[in-house]
């Protein structure tokens, strides 16, 4: 039974994918792509309505008949409201956060509601265990974050996602498929006990710099978003200057190289996990770092974007890049 339904759902998905082609985000939901069916509560209600009509007709009771028809009309109107709840809503996938194997990959959906009515109980899903629900007030936009558990390192690609709602009364479910890819780069789980090897000449210095701590103040550099607040040059800011970061001599002068080849004696995945650990540690300590793995080399830098690039490189290692 379950598989029968699943088969029907799959066919519908495939048909809808053929029918609408690929979508570009952001997309505004047109009525031609909204599907609607009664839920099982709706089917129960339908059976009840039939019983109500038969009872009223049989008892020849005009009042009961009026009541039964009011319920029928209520269900029909609720159907329109359910359909409308998705209509003309526009969706975008805003940002992906970093994902690690064994954790979750999260996508932030932005629902833009340009009508004055509230869009309630909009469910977003792109896999069986990846769904989330949210509401958007009139003339605003709302964010819904959907997370999916990812077990293994690599690239998770979801070719379509679905918006559904059973607003207002749960008797009907309207849904639409959006044929847009959601890509999650799943970095290896950060793991490993090794210290960063002195691949470059200044490796030892770097270790000492860590031992000495952050006191070796060297100067100011411009602010980059994502940097730990510890490194903010608050005094500069307080004087009314630009936001600046304090930098430290040991770090600025001697970039670390996180090197694949320095991890002899480890399996590939274990190496990647160790490298991932190092990336996170170096980033947290605001030490510029470069990544060197077979086929890829990222020059030493610091900051959120660099970190993401490194993690993505680790995720994609040995895997064909997705389209």
């Amino acid at each position: 039974m379950k598989s029968l339904r699943q088969a029907a759902v799959d066919r519908l998905r495939a048909w809808s994918a053929r029918r609408h082609g690929r979508d570009t985000l952001p997309i505004t939901i047109h009525r031609r792509r909204i599907y609607i069916l009664p839920t099982r509560f709706g089917l129960m209600l339908a059976a009840l309505l039939v019983a109500m009509l038969i009872a009223s007709l049989n008892y020849n009771s005009n009042l009961a008949l009026a009541f039964a028809f009011l319920m029928v009309a209520l269900a029909l109107v609720a159907m329109h409201h359910c359909h409308r709840n998705l209509l003309a809503l526009s969706v975008d996938v805003h940002a992906e956060t970093d994902a690690f194997a064994g954790g979750e990959a999260c996508f932030e959906f932005v629902l833009r509601n340009e009508s004055r009515i509230e869009r309630s109980d909009i469910q977003l899903r792109f896999a069986k265990d990846a769904q989330s629900i949210g509401s958007v007030a009139g003339n605003t936009h709302g964010r819904v974050t959907v997370c999916v558990p990812v077990a293994r390192r690599g690239v998770s690609l979801f070719k379509q996602f679905e918006l559904r709602t059973d607003h207002p009364f749960g008797w009907f479910r309207a849904w639409t498929y959006v044929q847009a890819s959601l890509t999650a780069y799943v970095a290896p789980a950060p793991r490993g006990e090794r210290v960063i090897a002195a691949a470059a000449a200044a490796g030892g210095t770097a270790l000492r710099a860590e031992a000495r701590g952050d006191e070796d103040f060297a100067g100011l550099r411009s602010y980059q978003p994502g940097v730990s607040l510890k490194h903010m040059a608050w005094k500069v800011l307080a004087r009314g200057g630009e936001p600046m970061l304090r930098s430290y001599s040991g770090l600025a002068a001697n970039p670390e190289w996180l090197d694949w080849s320095s991890l002899d004696g480890l399996e590939a995945e274990a190496r990647l996990s160790q490298l991932c650990r190092w990336v996170l540690d170096s980033e947290a300590a605001q030490r510029p770092y470069g990544l060197r793995i077979p086929g890829t080399e990222l020059a030493p830098a610091c900051g959120r974007e660099h970190r993401s690039a490194c993690l993505r490189a680790l995720a994609c290692f040995g895997i064909e890049a997705p389209r």
């Binding site: 129960m44 009840l48 049989n58 109107v77 009515i117 949210g134």
Partner: protein, 655 residues
Amino acid sequence: MSSPRGAAQPVAFARLGWICACLGLAMIPHMTALPLWVLGTVGACAALRLFRAAHGRSAPPGLIRTLVAVLAIGLLFLQFRTFNGLTAGTALLSLVAGLKVLETQTRRDIHVLALIVYFLSLAALLHGESFWLLAYLVALVWITTATLLHLSGAALQVDWRSGGRYAGRILAQAAPLALVLWLLFPRFAEPLWQTPSDGRGATGLSDTMSPGDIDELALSDDVAFRVRFADGVPPAKQRYWRGPVLHDFDGHTWRRTDSGPGIAPALLPEGPAYRYTLNIEPNQHNWIFVLDWPSSWDLSRAMLTGDYMLVQTNPISQPIDVVATSYLQVRAAAPLSNGARRRDTQLPPDRNLRTLKFAQQLRAAHPDDMDYVQAVLDMFAQQEFFYTLTPPRLAENSVDEFLFDTKRGFCGHYASAFAMLMRAAGIPARVVTGYQGGAFNRFANYWIVRQSNAHAWDEIWIEGHGWLRIDPTSAVAPQRIEPGLSDLGSAEDRFSGWRHLPWLADMRLRIDALRQLWRDRVLKYDEGAQLKLLGYLRIPEPDGQKLVMVMAGALSLVLGLLAWQIRRELAPLPKDPVLRSFNRLCRKLAAAGMARRQHEGAEAYAARITETRPDLAAAAALCRRYSELRYGESRADAAEFAAAVRALHPRRARA
């Protein structure tokens, strides 16, 4: 397709409370029909569940629930011996709802409870007929449906007031659709199958009469039926509405054990015929109250019994209308049969001995039948007999006690005693119960006969004339028969009096006129009325098929309007005239190949226009003007800005 906040997730306490309240409200109209223990069980279940929920605990364990279910449903079956029929079905449904409350945990349970509430509401209407009941139940649907809102759970805030407003709006949008369906959906002349008679309270007069029976009715303001006379109205003293005719007397109670000889004897009418329409309220009896001696009626399945009762096979469970013709004076065409004579002179030999003896003495003094009747009536009029609503209770020898000891009675006592005195003297006599009089509603030109008009009188057989009506009560209390006080309504009025205020009486009549209108237009709306409606719509030769076609057309029209109305709310609100003009400007520029980028501010847009399309300098100036108008102080130049935008006709750039 399960969802994380799906059917299995526990629902909040408030939600549980609301649905329990809805269930309670749905059971109120069934209060009188349901056994007390069913109400108690449902209440206890709800209380137990709410108590547990308030302490953060889940539903009681399955074993307890099963035990309660088996016990309750078993008990119900023992009581009703069936689950068929409205009362038993309602009781069963209520019990199931109670048990469901007990295990209510998830969204699905709330849905099931809501469905039960809907069906209980409908069941209340199957025999209901009041406008207020319908209004009450629609309000209940409103609350129940609002409870279902946001059940799947991500509302910005669960605010009962806005939820109620939203559910109310949906209900209001449903109303026109429901109206079209109700007006045009084809009605069946006959029910699909015979509904089991469920013993739902028969009201009004029954076919037995003990002393004191009618007194209770006399306090009731309920309407028995309403009458519209076609031409002449019989005088008030003559308006006797005949109901059950009682023949069998055991010394205390008059009964109608069988209807006697089947065919009504022929009668020779005298005097004028009266044509009238009866609007009878459902009373679950199968006799129809008609004016004295009916000669024709328009109910195909009704017939006259040997003692001139109009009887149909099915009890009256829905309001019905009867058009009938009656005569007030008739003469028997044939003599009384021996069987009938024997039946109507029979008395229990060992009861009411004092009365028997008294009757023999009186008969000896008055050998002529009419003299004897007059002597009895004179006795009632001249001795210390009182007409009272609250007579003393009487035991087995009720007539003896009444005639010689208490001497206080209501119409039933007099009719009973009189018939007994007649029979004791060998004159065939029978007791007739029914209604007498009625109040005129001058606002809508009909007569209201209430339960308080219930009355009992006698018919005696006089040789050479036939059955003659004698009303012994009139000898004691002529005001009971004469029009006047009694027209104001119940017997209570005559004794208490505060309701005599004329404006109050007027208001009651007006309300009754409305009720009659409701009955005629709504409760009695049927196929004939539907075809008449098609006639008003100028549809030639209306029939059932055209009705369905008109319904389909009207439904699509209403549904289309509805869809349009619902979608219209999606349009963004064009709040600001300045913004509206700016949007118009952007549309014009887009047509000219210079579309504004999403999230591009007006200033940036203007700069870009100046840079890339110098020919559109005027448009760029308008964009800057917009920025000033929108974010600056002055709003006064909105009209001027709108005119400037309207006057602008940007051209496409030449390639």
